[in-house]
């Protein structure tokens, strides 16, 4: 599954929203922000909650279970209770297609 994989077309994910996909072993969220698309792991590093059920606030995603916040560009923790960051994935736009790079 190495390389870029098409997950959706741009109209599937309106600006300000996010959507989860399964790519091989990985569950990945693609978020659409004002400056483009970002992809990150759909699992909070604190208690494994699906972050895709949470809220997107600019470049920050808020976990629905305990409120941990992560930067979706870098994966870094921006608010506890999480202390470890989440994985992020490279995104490429090819025409209307959204592609995500996985291992």
């Amino acid at each position: 599954m190495a390389g870029f994989v098409k997950v959706a077309i741009m109209s599937d994910i309106p600006e300000g929203s996010m959507r989860a996909f399964t790519i091989g072993h990985d569950r990945v969220v693609v978020a659409h922000t004002a400056d483009g698309f970002y992809a990150f792991a759909d699992e909070c590093s604190h208690d494994s909650a699906p972050i895709s059920d949470g809220r997107l606030k600019n470049h920050q995603v808020i976990c629905p279970r305990h409120g941990a916040r992560f930067n979706i560009v870098t994966g870094a923790v921006e608010a506890p209770p999480a202390v470890v960051g989440i994985d992020t994935y490279e995104v490429k736009i090819d025409g209307d297609d959204i592609l995500v790079r996985c291992e």
């Binding site: 959507r19 996909f21 399964t22 091989g24 072993h25 494994s48 909650a49």
Partner: protein
């Protein structure tokens, strides 16, 4: 796998339905058809469990959804694998008393050894047992694993094609194990294996239940397996049940095991998990009468990107009962294990003892283990304890062995084998060497 990712189901999506049962599933007695229909209706009426619900915190329920075209329990026959040949040899030598080989959830072949025939122990397909032992099957099938367990239990109840039936008459002791070997199907197929084991009063048996086969790699397509095991232990019966899970790395495997044991009965359960891409297993024993004793010794070794989600339940519905759980987990590469263990003691079940331990050894960074012990104790006259550990190998142990001339890689192998040794020493002898080989092979290249 195609280069388009599968979109994960969400709660707003309409879950997959079973439109109708295939004609081959509607054979058999009226009560069976009714139970299947009831399970089908339940399955259709329920949404997928929400991630975050109890027991679904660490596993996405959508991975166990199957397509309509997978809803027929598939059968296939490949050439016999090495284990089939090995177990046939064991049968001929008399080190096991019976061998059942099942391809997919059906296509079941029973080989009975001398002891099995002499002792009048019944090992057959469920469809044969419905004809030969109608009352026993009707009164017990679906008694412990049925639609009330959840959506995926209902799926097995509705769609299982055939199953395996083991019956040990009153006062009978079978000295050698009965081995059930199930080969899951090719990529894209689904199996719904079902097992019913009835051990009557003062009877004794060891059953080795081995799940193998399935897709080797998720990139070539996923094999789906949804199993159900029901075990009834009569008064003063003694049952040993070994579940060996070594399915291929492209298999998503779901299994629900439930046993109920009566006064004075003992149950020894060995959940041994090595295989599958994603394995969610739920083992449970109800201790239903005074003096009942249940012990579980779990061994799990995850490698690569394997994901394990195991649950255990010891339900003390009778007083003066004893239970003990010891789950040992070793993980390497990027493997993940979650364990949730519940001890429930009812209000009138006094003077019970219940213990639970889950130890996790992480061999490198990137692995992950979660452990959640749960106690629901409704009276005060009990003795209970639980403990959990998660951590890497103690460097001092490696140093200690190094000081005696053992290189670090060999030291790690010795420590891991020592970690499992206590549990594996209780596994039936004819299986022990194979389990040890699985452990060694998973330590290669460390």
């Amino acid at each position: 796998m195609s280069n388009t990712a599968a979109i994960v189901g969400t709660t707003t999506d309409t879950p997959i339905q079973i439109p109708e049962l295939a004609p081959e599933l509607l054979r058999g007695p009226v009560w069976l058809k009714r139970r299947r229909e009831k399970a089908r209706e339940y399955f259709n009426s329920q949404p997928l469990p929400r991630r975050g619900l109890h027991l679904w915190r660490y596993t996405d329920p959508a991975v166990f959804e199957i397509r309509h075209d997978q809803m027929v329990d598939s059968a296939f026959r490949e050439k016999a694998d090495d284990v089939e040949k090995l177990e046939m040899k064991h049968l001929e030598e008399g080190s096991i008393s019976g061998l059942v080989i099942s391809h997919g959830g059906r296509d079941i072949t029973v080989h009975a050894g001398e002891e099995l025939k002499r002792q009048k122990v019944v090992v057959s397909t469920l469809s044969d047992a419905i004809a030969s032992h109608p009352q026993i099957v009707e009164s017990r099938l679906f008694g412990l694993v049925n639609e009330t367990g959840g959506k995926f239990e209902a799926l097995n109840c509705a769609l299982f094609n055939d199953g395996i039936f083991v019956y040990v008459p009153r006062g009978t002791t079978l000295s050698k194990p009965v081995h059930l070997l199930r080969e899951a199907g090719n990529p894209g197929s689904a199996q719904f294996p079902r097992t019913l084991i009835v051990v009557e009063e003062n009877a004794e048996i060891t059953v080795i239940d081995e799940y193998a086969g399935g897709a080797d790699d998720i990139d070539s397509g996923v094999t789906y397996s949804n199993g159900a095991v029901e075990i009834f232990g009569g008064q003063d019966s003694r049952t040993r049940y070994v579940m060996l899970q070594r399915q291929g790395r492209g298999t998503n495997s779901y299994l629900t095991h439930r046993a109920r044991i009566e006064r004075g009965a003992s149950m020894l359960t060995f959940p041994l998990a090595f295989g599958a891409n994603l394995s969610k297993q739920n083992f449970g024993v109800t201790l239903n009468g005074p003096g009942a004793d249940s012990q579980m010794y779990g061994v799990l070794f995850g490698t690569g990107r394997q994901h394990f989600d195991n649950h255990t339940l010891h339900h003390h519905s009778g007083g003066n009962t004893h239970s003990d759980i010891d789950m040992k987990v070793v993980l390497r590469d990027r493997a993940m294990s979650a364990y949730t263990g519940l001890i429930r003691i009812e209000q009138f079940a006094k003077t019970c003892e219940a213990y639970q331990e889950n130890r996790n050894l992480l061999l490198n960074r990137g692995t992950r283990a979660e452990t959640i012990p749960e106690l629901e104790i409704l009276n005060e006259d009990v003795q209970c304890s639980h403990g959990a550990t998660i951590g890497p190998i103690d460097p001092e142990q490696v140093f200690y062995l190094g000081a005696r001339g053992i290189d670090p890689e060999q030291a790690v192998r010795m420590i891991v084998r020592g970690f499992f040794e206590d549990s594996l020493s209780k596994v039936p002898e004819d299986l022990r060497q194979r389990i040890d080989d699985y452990v060694i092979s998973r330590l290669e290249g460390l």
